[in-house]
């Protein structure tokens, strides 16, 4: 019996391999053709309907600024994935709590005039509040929801994370109310700069600067400090790290705090950019940032940043470039479709991500 089974298995393997490949190749051809046709038709639209060169430049700047926020959130996903091999589905909510907490201060400062009198000091406080709130939520999340499940089968922590995400989102709705709150924008961040003919709003510049600083600081922390070293050791192998005298719990909590800090910064930046805070503001950026992390190669710092920027660009440039030409009305409505299509394609064709080490078997 065993022999026949083995032979049947072998035969089937030979039979079915091409099917999978045919599906993939067809998919690849469809995608490439779609992209080619879409962009060709958009770029060759008649003069009046075509986007001006300046418009494309604006899209790119917007995309980079968006990408900066995605990169900051994506770093949080990547860090946690690197160390626990789990997708922290609730990271978007960590981000949301940072934004929301800082909103209350921003609102009070805007009413008292402090926000425009001492903008630098006020912004610093806002960022600190966001950071503290986000990292507190991240630590609680780890302590309450994830720690008891550290050795459970892989789907268990994922389902827990989905539950935690739902819980946190609706807790925010219950605590702070379901309405959209207008986030005040300090005068100092209104208007824009013009460098070498490229216009960029001040907020975009702030986002890019913050994302760069955040990434540098994180890299230094992870590669230059002793705690960072212990985190890397735990990411490599929890049990052996513990045997080497590393406090695994502490390393994991540190990871969540770092993710929380970056998410807090991203939350404040996002809220200032789009001038609102709401209980469900974390969902879409969260998914987008996760896509970014996968796109760049989950588990790697530079991958998360690269993925974030690429996805930001894709979201800003993609819809008008690909869809305008084929007569899709209001292409930006389909922004999220671009995100998810990219995610699906990356996972199918290069599961390790752009900078990933081809961890195909772990996927």
């Amino acid at each position: 019996v065993a022999q026949t089974t083995a032979r049947a298995g072998g035969l089937r393997r030979v039979e079915r391999l091409p099917v999978r490949r045919i599906i993939l190749v067809t998919l690849a051809i469809v995608v490439v053709a779609g992209v080619a046709v879409g962009s060709w038709r958009t770029l060759t639209l008649p003069e009046g309907q075509r986007f001006a060169v300046g418009a494309w430049r604006d899209f790119v700047v917007l995309g980079i600024a968006q990408g900066g926020v995605f990169a900051l959130i994506a770093l949080g996903y990547s860090l946690v994935y690197g160390i626990l091999r789990m997708i922290n589905f609730a990271h978007g909510e960590v981000f949301m709590f940072g934004a929301y907490a800082s909103f209350f201060f921003a609102d009070a400062y805007a009413k008292s005039g402090f926000l425009d009198r001492q903008p630098v000091l006020a912004l610093t406080i806002l960022f600190l509040v966001g950071i503290i709130a986000s990292s507190t939520v991240a630590v609680l999340l780890e302590r309450i929801a994830y720690r008891p499940l550290r050795n459970a089968p892989r789907l268990v922590p994922l389902i827990t994370a989905i539950g935690a995400s739902l819980f946190l989102q609706n807790a925010a709705a219950g605590l702070f109310g379901p309405q959209t709150r207008g986030y005040p924008k300090p005068d100092i961040l209104r208007g824009g700069f013009e460098v070498l003919g490229i216009r960029a709003s001040r907020v975009a510049v702030l986002v890019i600067v913050a994302a760069t600083l955040g990434t540098i600081a994180l890299t230094l922390f992870v590669y230059r400090t002793k705690t960072g070293k212990s985190m890397r050791a735990v990411a490599e192998d929890k049990d052996i790290a513990a045997l080497m005298g590393i406090n695994v719990d502490r390393a994991i909590v540190t990871t969540f705090i770092l993710g929380g800090i970056l998410a807090g910064v991203a939350g404040v930046l996002f809220a200032i950019t789009f001038e609102f805070a709401r209980f469900d503001m974390g969902f879409t950026p969260g998914i987008a940032a996760f896509t970014a992390a996968v796109l760049g190669g989950i588990g790697s710092i530079s991958g998360a940043v690269l993925g974030g920027l690429l996805l930001g660009l894709l979201q800003a440039v993609g819809p008008p470039l690909l869809l305008r030409g084929i007569d899709v009305p209001s292409p930006f409505q389909l922004k999220d479709v671009v995100t998810f299509t990219v995610l699906v394609l990356v996972l199918i064709f290069r599961p390790g991500g752009i900078l990933g080490s081809g961890e195909a078997e772990k996927v």
Partner: protein, 601 residues
């Protein structure tokens, strides 16, 4: 009283206090206060104040491992521990209330929207802060002490008490169903339920308490009796008979239910039954095949839209209605097979590209598909075909021999028929060759593949069948409403279905039914719960995964799998079989399949 226990009591009290403050700030206390349970003295808000302390006190006084052995605390110790944790929780809440009093409600409200005079009145029992806090701390300490005795009372006394109290709670919560049924049966419900407070009367509560306690005692006595005589008498025979009778009784109740409970509750039942259907479908994908699909709403949408389009629904336009780009005028029953086939095909389409992905990646990609479905149906782009953000109207009411199913009571029968079909299909699948292949694949894909199970084929099959069942849910959903509203196709549909199967027990058909009825039906029956539905779903998902991953009505094989960690299994393999885990898994799986193969061939 040792140091460990003191620390435990303080910790439990602090956590209980934090939970209580959270419950208050999130608005549950004020919302649930209006729901009277017994008389007008005992309402759900009050129960909610006591609940965190109950849990905290039980955990503070539970047996602990001291110096390597499990020790139950002495009665006095546990009383003190429980009371202390209650007092600490009370003090925490009192402190929070004090902060609110000092800052003033109007200054806290812009941040925490639920803080109000009413909330303070509830936690401080309508007194000023000082007296109110004292009362609160006293009540919570007493509750803590009482709860703590739970771990020292013998199970014989504890179990009937717990059963009786939860029965009273359950009966009180079902205050919209039970009286209607009694009235419909020609009985007088006024002695049981008060018409003024809507909850149980005190007399009714006492009767329920006594009856439940007596039943519980009788049950455990009978069990002890049965255990003693099982070897001598033919228990299996009677068991089979009981089972048939039970199924028959359930069937009769199911048929009679909508006539007894009236149209409002039939409506809720219909909505819950749709989720039973969705849960059963998702259970095939997640529970049987082990593929975590978060984009299940895509199939729901496919079922809804194609049913509407095939049966001749119209687009809602600025001026009245418009004909969709594609539409047929089939009858509902002719359309259903086509819809099911389309959904199965969509299942293949979604399944094919993600065949190589596992676990969490699969979850995120399917989530992506679900979101794509949602964005597409609301987009301007597909508006001529599916109606964009406005959706479709005039969906068929599925007339059958002049009998339409739009009315809640009638719709119930339609959805019941489909649910029974889905239950039948799922339970037959579970024990079929396909079901065993899914099991093997879920437990170890590589081993299953090595044993000659075509994982590609079975994964696609799971997506197709699961999708087909899900599309039935969508089809019935639009028949119920008569319109297709694109706002209904959110990720939350997927998550609700997932929560239902997790709560009930992954892979267990009765579990899924129970889970869906509890999660969707209960909030529908209890208006104050509706607002916190999603919050509760989230908490349920987390709590179940941490405390009871196998669910309320577990599937035996699945629970074994979830309980034991992979490491423990490897350890077992090394010890018993004397081989390395990988080889052992192959050996075990090979043995199992070999037997089955032999049986059938």
């Amino acid at each position: 009283m040792d140091e460990v226990r003191i620390r435990g009591a303080i910790k439990a009290g602090a956590i209980g206090g934090a939970a209580l403050i959270f419950i208050g700030l999130v608005g549950m206390l004020t919302n649930f206060e209006g729901l009277n349970l017994v008389g007008d003295e005992l309402n759900l808000g009050l129960v909610l104040i006591l609940a965190p302390v109950l849990v905290a006190a039980v955990s503070a006084s539970r047996p602990r491992v001291v110096a390597g052995e499990l020790r139950s605390p002495a009665t006095v110790q546990s009383l003190v521990a429980g009371a202390a944790s209650g007092a600490i929780a009370g003090a925490a809440v009192a402190a929070a209330a004090g902060i609110v009093e000092i800052l003033g409600i109007e200054r806290v409200r812009p941040v925490f929207v639920s803080v109000s005079e009413e909330l303070l009145d509830i936690v401080l029992f309508g007194r000023a802060w000082a007296t109110g806090s004292l009362i609160l701390i006293a009540i919570l300490s007493v509750t803590g002490a009482v709860a703590a005795t739970g771990s020292t009372t013998p199970a014989r006394i504890r179990r009937p008490l717990v059963v009786a109290l939860s029965s009273v709670l359950a009966m009180a919560l079902l205050h919209r169903i039970v009286p209607t049924i009694l009235l419909e049966l020609g009985l007088d419900p006024t002695w049981l339920y008060s018409r003024v407070t809507l909850g149980l009367t005190w007399v009714g509560a006492i009767v329920v308490f006594v009856v439940a306690a007596a039943t519980s005692i009788a049950w455990s006595e009978r069990r002890r009796f049965a255990r003693g005589t099982r070897q001598t008498t033919g228990v299996p025979d009677t068991r089979k008979l009981t089972r048939t009778l039970l199924l028959l009784a359930i069937f009769v109740v199911l048929l009679a239910l909508p006539q007894l409970v009236g149209s409002v509750i039939s409506e809720v039942l219909g909505a819950a039954a749709i989720f039973v259907l969705l849960g059963l479908g998702l259970n095939i994908v997640v529970g049987y095949a082990g593929l975590l699909d978060l984009g299940y709403v895509a199939f729901f949408a496919v079922g809804a839209y194609f049913t509407a389009l095939l049966t001749g629904a119209d687009i809602i336009a600025v001026l009245g209605t418009a004909e969709p780009a594609f539409s047929l005028n089939l009858s509902f029953y002719a359309a259903i097979p086509i819809v099911v086939m389309i959904a199965a095909f969509v299942g293949l389409l979604i399944g094919a590209p993600v065949l190589r992905l596992r676990g969490d990646y699969l979850a995120i990609v399917t989530l992506g598909f679900g979101e794509i479905a949602r964005v597409l149906v609301t987009s301007e782009w597909l508006k001529p075909a599916v109606g964009g953000a406005q959706g479709l109207r005039d969906v068929t009411s599925a007339p059958l021999f002049g009998f339409t199913f739009r009315r809640p009571q009638n719709f119930y029968y339609l959805v019941l028929a489909f649910c029974l079909l889905a239950v039948y299909v799922s339970s037959r699948l579970a024990n079929s060759r396909v079901g065993r292949a899914w099991n093997a694949m879920r437990e170890d894909e590589q081993v299953a593949d090595a044993m000659g199970i075509s994982t590609v084929r079975y994964k696609l099959l799971a997506f197709a069948i699961g999708g087909a069942v899900g599309s039935l849910g969508g089809a019935l959903f639009v028949v119920r409403l008569g319109t297709v509203q694109p706002g209904s196709f959110e990720i939350l549909v997927s998550i609700t279905a997932l929560a239902a199967i997790i709560l009930g027990g992954i892979g267990s058909v009765p579990g899924v039914v129970v889970g869906a009825l509890v999660l969707v039906g209960l909030p529908g029956l209890l208006a104050p719960f509706e607002e916190f539905r999603l919050l509760i779903y989230g908490a349920v998902l987390v709590a179940i995964m941490i405390l009871r991953p196998q669910g309320i009505v577990p599937n035996v094989r699945r629970s074994r799998e979830l309980k034991e960690e992979e490491l423990a299994q490897d350890e077992w393999a090394r010890e018993r079989l004397g081989v390395e885990p990988q080889a052992a898994a192959v050996a075990v799986a090979g043995g199992k399949l070999g037997v089955e193969e032999g049986k059938e061939g």
